[in-house]
Amino acid sequence: MPYPANYRYTREHEWISLDGTIGTIGITDYAQNSLGDIVYVDVPKVGDSVTANATFGSVESVKAVSDLFSPVSGKVTAINEALKTEPDKINAAPHETWIIKVELSNPAEFNSLLDAAAYEKFISEETGS
């Protein structure tokens, strides 16, 4: 699955897209593939603060519970309610299925993240393939 060129990525396998100062965050195809079937997504509340590189929630698959790391700092403006009943949407369409939206407090953080090419290079190193 291609990694959208307009997204930015973390080494913890989250993606973020930016519209003005609103960032939309999800997990990558590599992440959903490693986790396997996702059964539950734990997210913060609207209005909560998130910090770059700190955990903001977790995602549970049949194999494990993994922390979600925020690519940026800011305030949560929306959460994807559909994931409460259909967490498997992440498996089906990881790059279209967002988890939270964040109003960035420091938009410069977006540019310090990995671009698609750098992220693909990172995962190929990580898998050693």
Partner: protein, 512 residues
């Protein structure tokens, strides 16, 4: 819901020749479904005392209708539970190589000793003067465990490993508070047991993740950068969940102690160290032991567990109450008057039946026996590693201690994942190994044979694993659809997690 055997439809597509799938022993219904009105296991004798009116005695608590309770005869009940028991797998049936869990044999001598009437029938409310024997067991076990760990003080009360972690971090917090600041965060390596971060969070700490280095161990540079005066402790499993000994452990302790932070050791893997090295000697401040792993008490449904916490002298004032104290005349009493104690962590004195079994194990082995146990556990894991490393990928090349972690990388090329290999292992008569843990290994196969297994049993296991590796190449579908020899074939784990059915409900019309 169980299949209705009256329809006699095969349960799975993978019918083994000659195996009668619809038979009762393969398709036991729930006890509620076997019920029929009026069946009864016992007939009460005529009343020889004056009858009472339960409604009058119980008032509002009295129920006219008792709800749906199963009605069966005695033989039906016995058959029901006996059949269910035959579907189980146990260490008494074969090897149980569940990594990190240390499913070692529970020697029968432990059971004999624990069933001595004086112990088995002891009541926790007996006065100390009548309980000196039981207290001597506790005192002796404490002494043995302190000798084995090299620590100064101990409580046997926690009822499980995670409960021990909780108690140990409570001690840590109480000590920091006594120094004027409980501090804010606890460091946890990314290879840790999930209970470690859960414990720290429950005790009010923020969790900071510590990345493993390329050997799967602690990165000293990263540790030094992350430890500060806000760090309460590092929770470290040694050997790690990769089965690797942290050979820089004393330096790790120094880095923490320089900043006033404590070193907590998760003793889940202590079976790789007993009689060889002592955590108290390599800088650990507080740790728990799992009697149900290292010291051979029952485990995994059979429990209960026991997670004693040992600590250095400076933490002793904070130990949970009561603490066993020896009187001048050689008798013992329980001391409840400990103003700095974190309080009670459990009713009474802990799972004392496990203390008897663990002490029996320690005394039956003796120091040399325990040392040999450790050596055999490490030898067995390395034997498996050596015999399988040509077929299964070793993600970390560091020497293994009591367990070995492979990855499914080569089999995954054929679409066969660690979970598939584990399920296929059931067909070969073994309990699966630990799947997909530790999380730092993609597609982990975590194998811990323990010292209990003979070379003959290990060879059977190795032959099974080699055969599965061949199947993964030649006939991957066979592995991906395993198990084939069990009562039910592969269950839908995803549906079970997403839409769990947590209780049985009667059908509207049982004959529809």
């Amino acid at each position: 819901m169980a299949t209705d055997i009256r329809n006699s439809t095969p349960v799975t597509a993978h019918t083994t020749t000659g195996k009668v799938r619809p038979h009762q022993t393969q398709n036991e219904a729930l006890v509620f479904e076997k019920s029929a009105p009026g069946k009864c296991a016992y007939k009460m004798p005529p009343l020889d005392v004056p009858a009472v009116d339960p409604a009058e005695l119980l008032g509002d608590a009295h129920r006219e209708a008792l709800g749906l309770l199963p009605e069966l005869s005695e033989i039906e009940i016995i058959r029901h539970f006996t059949r269910l028991s035959t579907w189980n797998y146990a260490i008494d049936l074969g090897m149980y190589p569940l990594g990190s869990c240390t499913m070692k044999y529970n020697p029968r001598v432990n059971e004999v000793v624990a069933r001595i009437a004086g112990f088995a029938e002891a009541h926790p409310y007996r006065p100390s003067s009548h309980a000196q024997g039981g207290m001597e067991i506790i005192e002796q076990l404490q002494r043995c465990l302190l000798e084995i760990t090299g620590m100064d003080a101990i409580t046997l009360q926690p009822a499980a490993g995670a409960h021990g972690e909780f108690t140990g971090i409570l001690l840590t917090r109480a000590w920091h508070e006594s120094q004027g600041n409980p501090r804010r965060k606890v460091l946890i390596p990314d290879s840790a047991h999930g209970t470690n971060p859960a414990t720290a969070a429950i005790c009010g700490y923020q969790i900071e993740n510590l990345k493993s280095n390329s050997d799967g161990g602690i990165d000293l540079g990263a540790l030094a950068r992350q430890v500060d005066f806000d760090t309460a402790a590092l929770m470290l499993t040694n050997p790690s969940t990769l089965g690797v000994f942290e050979n820089q452990i004393h330096k790790i302790a120094d880095i923490l102690h320089d900043k006033g932070a404590l070193l907590y050791m998760d003793g889940a893997n202590m079976n790789a160290l007993v009689g060889k090295v002592r955590p108290g000697d390599f800088g650990v401040d507080v740790m728990h032991l799992n009697l149900h792993k290292t010291f051979s008490t029952p485990h995994g449904g059979g429990g209960p567990g026991a997670g004693p916490v040992a600590c250095k002298a400076f933490l002793e004032p904070f130990l949970p109450i009561p603490v066993l104290v020896r009187n001048e005349d050689g008798t013992r009493h329980w001391d409840y008057d400990r103003p700095h104690s974190v309080g009670r962590v459990r009713a009474f004195y802990g799972n004392t039946g496990m203390f008897i079994r663990a002490l029996a194990y320690i005394l039956a082995n003796g120091p040399d026996g325990l040392r040999q146990t450790t050596e055999d556990a490490v030898l067995n894991a390395n034997y498996i590693r050596k015999k399988l490393e040509d077929l299964y990928e070793l993600p970390y090349n560091t020497p293994s201690m009591h367990e070995v972690v492979f990855s499914d990388k080569r089999q995954a090329a054929h679409g066969v994942k660690t979970g598939d290999i584990a399920k296929r292992l059931i067909d070969y008569g073994f309990h699966p190994y630990t799947v997909s843990f530790p999380l730092i290994v993609q597609g982990a196969l975590m194998i811990e044979p323990t010292e209990s297994e003979s070379v003959e049993e290990l060879d059977l296991f190795i032959a099974a694993m080699r055969s599965i590796a061949r199947e993964a190449e030649e006939n991957p579908e066979l592995v991906k659809t395993a198990p084939h020899s069990t009562r039910v074939s592969r269950l839908d784990e995803v549906q079970a997690a997403r839409k769990p059915v947590l209780r049985w409900k009667p059908r509207e019309n049982p004959h529809s």
